[in-house]
């Protein structure tokens, strides 16, 4: 039976179920097929901190949202056009995001009295009319899967578990996705369990043909490929992108890569990714705690490796003293902070941008550290290379501030040509750099490059460069211990001037102001790039001019930032914190920027930002 095919520009799907229902895998598969069809896309996984929260509870709901389109998009979308709810908990947790008229696919098998009561439904929403605003497709997903698999050599439980593949088959049909990728994925995943493989393949096919035949779905949709720049693409998630960036940077610098790390959500996947890449000589050290992680990285940096430590906010707190040591030793070090909700353990699996001030100031003494932030999953790759460049060229620890949203979210990525990546020059010291009054040559570990103020990177094993360094204040140039008041004042200022001077090597802030006469600038940093971009687009379509700019460099700021801020009547700064960038901007430039903030553990919705922009324009 062939059905009417409707073309759409953009679709947002949310899969929601119990943690054990395989929603993340279902979402990943759908994403893969969608990427292969050439749509632009953006994803947002949202899962609980518990590995297996009690089944059927709101706390145990795991969701995966995906937006895909025939044009360039930057966010996973505010509200889904279709919600797949595998149980009452998933329905309850997600229904408030579903706009009127949206498609809602519910697994009726799970809407038992007990399950309904578990989440506080007093009546069955499928039957009591409360879902009337939506286009409900009540499907007995579990029993239809079991029925489809009854001739297969799998237990009832195993058959039930395949219901996510049934759902995937149905959605794949509904949105005209391919099936080949999923088939080969399953073939690989269950290569050693032929019965399970056969069952999953069959469940997928059954879901697909159910879509084709059921009257519940009268139309099938298609979304044409997006007109993206030509080239080779892959889909990439932020954490792996960051890991690839580190490997690339090490290669471009000709240095071995060393990671010292202690597992922590949402940063662990960088450790996992790097651990898979011993072929590149990558050394990954899972330390006894985060202090040892950064400590080992400092040791490796001292020895001449490209050294990295990866963590999240609580780990940064533990590393602070050691980062101060790296500031004092002036050794290259990359500190990756994949931010999550805080304070304390906070919201481990949710996103936030609340470590900016910790990165800036979370150390004793005057302890300046460059801070840079990627703006999207794929940008983690490029930001990692840039962090490495600054660390190596300036002999300094560098903060790379990612967050849970871009760490776990994904998007298509135009794969870069490895040959075109920038080179990084470690420029190791090779011999004496100072002549004593008596004419003999010696080595001064703190004699600075006049341009960058960077000190020599003199690694053990280099003849004639034996020297001692440490956390005690050092004499300017010669580097021996010095308690001299003037020397300390000089050294504090030199360390600050070195970091400030990095601004000479970073690009000016680019403002996107299509008409050139906007009164309002929306300025963001990090992962808010997508939502802000989308909000500006929407606002412009209403005929209102608004400018957008996004900071990649938080310390030092680009040289033109002050001028940019002062050239708009109003500057709005959306952040997933209570105004940390806003505070820095006000302090540095004495301008009255307006903070827009939200700390719900989720990225901004474009509609929230549109409302804020509109409200700001009205007060001009």
């Amino acid at each position: 039976m062939s059905k009417q095919v409707v073309s759409l520009n953009r679709v947002v799907i949310r899969f929601a179920g119990d943690s054990g229902d395989g929603m993340q895998m279902t979402g990943d598969r759908f994403t893969s097929e969608t990427a292969g069809l050439g749509n632009d896309l953006s994803t947002l996984p949202d899962f609980p901190a518990e590995i297996r929260a009690p089944a059927g509870t709101i706390g145990g709901v795991s969701a995966f949202q995906l937006a895909f389109a025939d044009h360039d998009i930057t966010t996973p979308g505010d509200a889904p056009n279709v919600l797949v709810a595998m149980n009452p908990a998933a329905l309850k947790a997600n229904i408030r995001d579903l706009p009127r008229g949206a498609d809602l696919i519910v697994n009726t098998d799970e809407f038992t009295k007990r399950n309904l009561e578990k989440v506080g439904y007093t009546s069955n929403p499928i039957e009591d009319g409360s879902l009337e605003p939506f286009n409900v497709h009540a499907v007995a997903l579990t029993s239809q899967t079991v029925e489809a698999l009854k001739s297969f050599a799998v237990s009832k439980k195993e058959a039930e578990r395949a219901k996510n593949m049934y759902a995937l088959g149905l959605l794949s049909w509904l949105y005209s996705r391919g099936a080949e990728g999923t088939r080969s994925f399953l073939n690989k995943k269950f290569a050693h369990k032929p019965e399970i493989l056969a069952a999953n393949l069959a469940a997928f096919e059954a879901g697909w043909s159910f879509g084709e035949t059921t009257e519940s779905f009268s139309v099938q949709y298609e979304v044409a490929p997006a007109a993206l720049p030509t080239g080779l693409y892959r889909n990439i998630t932020g954490n792996p992108a960051l890991a690839l960036g580190l490997i690339a940077a090490a290669q471009q610098a000709g240095l071995p890569l060393f990671l010292g790390s202690y597992p922590i959500t949402p940063a662990s996947d960088i450790l996992h990714e790097l651990a898979k890449n011993h072929r590149f000589g990558v050394m990954t050290f899972q330390a006894e705690d985060e202090i040892a992680g950064v400590g080992a990285a400092i040791g490796a940096a001292y020895g001449g490796a490209l050294a990295v430590t990866t963590t999240s906010g609580p780990g940064v707190a533990l590393k602070s003293e050691a980062i101060g040591l790296a500031v004092s030793l002036e050794l290259p070090l990359i500190i990756v902070d994949v931010q999550r909700g805080g304070p304390s353990t906070g919201l481990p699996t949710k996103t936030e941008q609340s470590d900016l001030l910790q990165a800036m100031f979370g150390r004793n003494g005057e302890s300046p550290v460059p801070v840079i932030a990627p703006q999207s999953p794929s940008d983690c790759f490029h930001a990692a290379i840039e962090a490495a460049r600054i660390a190596v060229e300036y002999r300094t620890p560098v903060f790379l501030l990612s967050d849970g949203y871009i760490a776990n979210g994904s998007e298509p990525w135009l794969v870069p040509d490895a040959d075109t990546l920038p080179k990084i020059d470690p420029n190791f010291a090779t011999g004496p750099n100072h002549t004593k009054a008596d004419g003999t040559e010696e080595f001064w570990p703190y004699l600075r490059d006049p341009e960058t103020l960077a000190r020599p990177w003199a690694i053990p094993g280099t003849k004639g460069l034996e020297h001692r360094i440490g956390g005690l204040e050092k004499a300017d140039g010669a580097g021996g211990i010095s308690y001299d008041p003037d020397n300390h004042d000089t050294m504090v200022r030199l360390r600050q001037a070195k970091i400030d001077g990095i601004a000479d090597t970073i690009p000016d802030l680019v403002v996107d102001d299509p008409t050139g006469d906007a009164d309002i600038l929306v300025l963001g940093w990090g992962s808010t790039y997508g939502p802000i971009g989308a909000a500006c687009e929407i606002t412009r379509r209403t005929g209102v001019n608004v400018a957008q700019a996004h900071l990649r460099y938080l310390n030092p700021f680009p040289r033109n930032l002050g001028d940019v801020l002062r050239s708009y009547r109003k500057v709005l700064v959306p952040e997933m914190n209570l105004g940390q960038l806003t505070m820095l901007l006000r302090a540095k430039y004495l301008v009255d920027v307006t903070s827009i903030n939200q700390v719900r553990g989720m990225p901004f919705k474009s509609t929230e930002l549109v409302a804020a922009i509109t409200a700001a324009i009205e007060t001009l």
Partner: protein, 350 residues
């Protein structure tokens, strides 16, 4: 020379003759006059030439404390780091640089209080580090608070009524932490210390050397029973691998096994020479080494064993890291950046 020190086989040798003097840096030594740290420094400087290593391939890494100033006085590469973290820093260096001889200098507070975690993990991993723990049973640099090795009841500035903490026995702790090499020596006994350092240097993996060090300002005389001519021989049990464990004036005392399987100190006369057990530092089972470490009285220092308690073979962590990486490269070939970037699932937009 290379063969004497298999643990240093990857470290370049010196091509010029070097002496103790070459290991003295131009930094003025600033310990209190009479501090035990001086003798340790000169013992180490006197010993190092024996290794025949290129000086630039030797690194001293310390934490914080009086003892941790040590690297400044050594004309090698050196890092005075932060309190307690030297083993972690040294681990990163050792893993990435097999061509270095790496020494960690630490105090009883540095390694057993704030840095306890890093110490035990370095020991169990068996990273190729030689850790010299200067144990003066006090916090020297912060002017005399009790430390984790101070005897219970110790009166210090922070414990005017006597400390309540039960103390650590560093040797017992190290053995419990799966250490492959554990030894104890004395700041004032150059001959003994040199022999212990020699064995530590030869050992592949982490060697923990506890050095009893006198802090003549805040804990003077802490080890006097082991040093005074009068008492020295009576209380000091010198452990030598393969030899009967006997000590005391005229070697009159010895260690024997009790019927219930423990060990105890006895008069050799009472049990006969045949009942005295021999020291086995190479025993796989750390039982004897541990039992020996428990014999001493933490207050009186009676029955204090010095020497090498344990010295067993286990591949070092850093070697295993290197082997794993080269094994992967051998099996799969070196990585190609472009194919890594491409990944396995790409599509073309034309």
């Amino acid at each position: 020379m290379t063969d004497t020190y298999p643990s240093l086989s990857l470290v370049p040798k010196t091509d010029i003759a070097i002496t103790a003097k070459d290991f003295k840096s131009d930094q003025e030594v600033r310990w209190c006059p009479g501090c035990g740290d001086y003798s340790i420094l000169s013992n180490v400087q006197a010993f190092l030439p024996e290794l025949g290593l290129a000086r630039e391939n030797i690194v001293f890494i310390s934490g914080i404390g009086c003892s941790s100033r040590f690297p400044y006085y050594m004309n090698t590469f050196g890092m005075h780091s932060i309190h307690g973290r030297a083993p972690a820093i040294a681990t990163g260096l050792a893993v990435s640089r097999p061509d270095l001889s790496i020494w960690v200098i630490t105090g009883d507070g540095d390694s057993l209080s704030i840095g306890g975690n890093h110490l035990i993990h370095a020991l169990r991993r068996n990273v190729n580090l030689k850790i010299l723990m200067f144990n003066n049973r006090i916090y020297g640099l912060t002017k005399g608070q009790y430390s984790p090795t101070s005897e219970q009841g110790k009166v210090t500035k922070s414990t005017p009524e006597g400390s309540l903490d039960y103390s650590f026995n560093p040797v017992s702790l190290a053995l419990g932490a799966e250490a492959t090499f554990v030894a104890r020596t004395l700041d004032s006994d150059r001959k003994h210390m040199t022999e212990v350092l020699r064995q530590a240097a030869a050992h592949e993996g982490t060697a923990l050397v506890e050095i009893y060090q006198n802090c003549n300002i805040f804990n003077d005389g802490a080890f006097d029973p082991l040093k005074d001519n009068e008492t020295r021989d009576d209380v000091t049990m010198r452990l030598v691998h393969g030899e009967p464990i006997r000590f005391g004036a005229d070697n009159s005392k010895g260690v024997t096994r009790t019927e219930d399987g423990h060990i105890k100190v006895v008069n050799v006369e009472d049990v006969g020479e045949a009942a005295i057990i021999s020291h086995d530092a190479h025993a796989k089972d750390p039982g004897l080494a541990f039992a020996l470490s428990r014999l001493s009285n933490p207050r009186t220092l009676e029955n204090t064993p010095i020497g090498v308690f344990r010295d067993i073979n286990r591949p070092s962590y850093d070697r295993l890291v290197r082997e794993q990486i080269s094994d992967v490269i051998e099996r799969k070939g070196p990585g190609d950046l472009q194919s890594l970037l491409n990944g396995s699932d790409t599509w073309n937009v034309s």
